[in-house]
Amino acid sequence: MSEQVAAPPRPAAPEPRRGRRFDADWIRRNGVYVALVVLLAINVVITDNFVSEGTLRLQLIQVTPVLIVALGMALVIGTEGIDLSVGAVMAIAAALIPLYIGYGTAVAIGMAVLAGGISGALAGTLVGRIGVQPIIATLGIMVAGRGLANLFGGEIKSIRDPGIVALGSESLLGVPYVVLIAAAVAASVWFLVRRSTFGRELVAIGGNKRAAELAGLPVRRVLTTTYVICGLLAALAGVLLAARSQASDPTKVGLLVELSAITAVVIGGTPLSGGQVRIAGTIAGALLMQLITATLIFHDIPDSTAQIAQAVIVVAAVYVQLGRRKAKS
């Protein structure tokens, strides 16, 4: 035991900004913003009708489900975990809306979000208290959850409840509700990570779990809570997606969203090795992915080519990250 205590802990929190050097570290921290600005500039030049309120607004609306899931995922990855169940949780949440809509809009949304919290508690208990590997625990929930969603949802259902429809399609002072909700979630998660004890504990556990335990941090509670937050956010994303499409399709809602979310987090500069959470980077990462998709659609690139293009961009982003870690070590 004593040897382990003596072992030097890995850096537990983002180290203070050192230089103004244009090195690999700078690229990793800021590459996603540069890529976003470059892609925006390219679109301004080559895409018809790109510079319009409608186009930009549409990207913000469409990015919301992935963004909200990615923010929860960033927290989980910060603990050196991963949550593969987010897509299935979205599907469960979307499937519960038509089931409970008879009790009113608020009850239906409440049940959907509650289901996400319960699923998150299950994942958190498996990971935090029983010690199951995150990828295994959440893989199990992903498979079972999709089945559960099909069970609840049955066939594709249309949702005509005026409250849900308004949530998905209306605006407050010109800003769509879904965008306002995503912004509120981003601000809350930022506050949680940067300004709360919980956030500091989370980052410390992700940096070195053993050291955090020995330092007396409430490791199990923090881990469980992190997965609960991730589950709640995934369910919220499912609700917003259902509200926007005014339908719930349990086999297709949230399919592969876990990959999009992980990609957004990673290209946003959060290392998969935990100990850091980058909220602004995650937002930029999600926006970059959305803009890539939109650009490929704007220019009517065939699906096969589009998939390859996306893969190249993602691999390039991850390569930049690897380069940085090598440079550091």
Partner: protein, 361 residues
């Protein structure tokens, strides 16, 4: 250190699982939700009519199978995709009802969840459970060989529905019953011409890539447009994977970057319904400002025609049950069965949608 096995934690785990179950199933109500595909009951649902048969004939003797009385037989049905899709739900239901009507001793039903390996295992399992006749909705045209070989070894005839396999006719399978997806695409082009008056900028919402339904519905449409309708200009074609929310997102992007799109052709009803929402979100009137034509014939889409949001839907009739069992009875009675039995699909448009709504699935 051994906290992993503390009973308290298992209790937390178990109780959260129970709570999940209770919370989600305990007190649901029928509510006022809209059902995508209301149970069609006896009133709804038109049976399939054979349009044309082609290819070489196959008899019981050619196939090398033994005579079978379906009334005392074990029949297996291997469904390809989850029954959450209205088409699959209607197809499975139709097979079940027809099996009841034929009085089979036992009907085994499996669902491959769109996975080829699972379908092979499903078919092998049904064979070991004593299936004497198999109806298969293949997940894919290629790759079912191990399952078809196993059936051949046991002398169990296989009838494929809705997707044709590339294996040898009258050796690996008896016949193919299905729609002509290419023809559906051509008819969608005709319907589009009708809806737009022959002048339009058309965006296409494609089904999943690498899928023969997508390919046929697309080439049928485009070739008919090229041959007959020079006024229909195809300005974009993007995949939306047969899903409603993707149909919506992709249509939103296309309408934004290309505001003069005046028509959308969707390879299935779900994407068309997504496009309806997208057109509305763009501040335009679906069915009027942007004409929409799709393929399938689900209840929601036909209702959308009645509401004026979709212009026309080419039917792809999923009710294979009666025709499948009728074909099987003929086959076991010694009649020759042609390789391809292509069914007649209807069309829903503004003239007949209200009257025909009951036939939608």
């Amino acid at each position: 250190m051994n906290r992993a096995t503390s009973p308290r934690h298992w209790r937390i785990l178990a109780s959260s699982a129970v709570v999940l179950g209770l919370a989600l199933t305990g007190c649901t109500n029928p509510g006022e939700q809209d059902q995508a595909a209301a149970p069609s009951g006896d009133g709804g649902g038109d049976g399939q009519v054979v349009k044309e048969s082609s290819g070489e004939d196959c008899t019981l003797e050619d196939y090398g199978a033994e005579k079978l009385d379906l009334a005392n037989a074990v029949v297996g049905f291997s469904q390809s995709e989850p029954d959450t899709a209205a088409f699959r739900a209607a197809e499975t239901k139709s097979i079940r009802e027809a099996a009841d009507a034929a009085g089979v001793e036992r009907l085994l039903v499996t669902n491959a969840n769109n996975e080829l390996p699972k379908q092979i295992a499903d078919i092998q399992n049904m064979l070991s459970q004593g299936a004497e006749f198999l109806i298969v909705a293949p997940v894919n045209s290629d790759g079912l060989d191990p399952a078809l070989d196993a059936a051949k070894q046991k002398g169990v005839p296989v009838l494929t529905i809705d997707r044709k396999v590339t294996n040898t006719h009258c050796e690996d399978y008896v016949a193919f019953l299905g729609s002509d997806f290419y023809e559906q695409g051509r008819r969608a082009a005709d319907a589009m011409n009708e809806a737009t008056g022959g002048e339009a900028k058309v965006a296409i919402l494609l089904g999943s890539s690498g899928n023969n339904v997508t390919d046929d519905r697309n080439s049928g449409f485009k070739e008919q447009v090229a041959a007959e309708y020079p006024g229909l200009e195809i300005v974009a074609e993007q995949t939306a994977n047969f899903a409603r929310d993707e149909g919506q997102s992709v249509a939103e992007q296309l309408l934004q970057s290309n505001p003069d799109i005046t028509a959308i052709y969707a390879h299935n009803d779900e994407m068309a319904l997504g496009a309806v929402t997208a057109v509305q979100a763009a501040g335009k009137q679906p069915g009027t400002d942007v004409k929409i034509v799709s393929i399938d014939g689900t209840r929601n889409a036909v209702q959308a025609i009645v509401d004026g949001n979709i212009n026309a839907v080419i039917e792809s009739n999923p009710r294979f049950g009666p025709l499948a069992f009728e074909t099987a009875e003929k086959f076991f009675a010694g009649e020759a069965i042609p390789e391809d039995v292509i069914i007649e699909d209807d069309e829903y448009n503004q003239d007949n949608a209200e009257a025909e709504l009951g036939n939608a699935f």
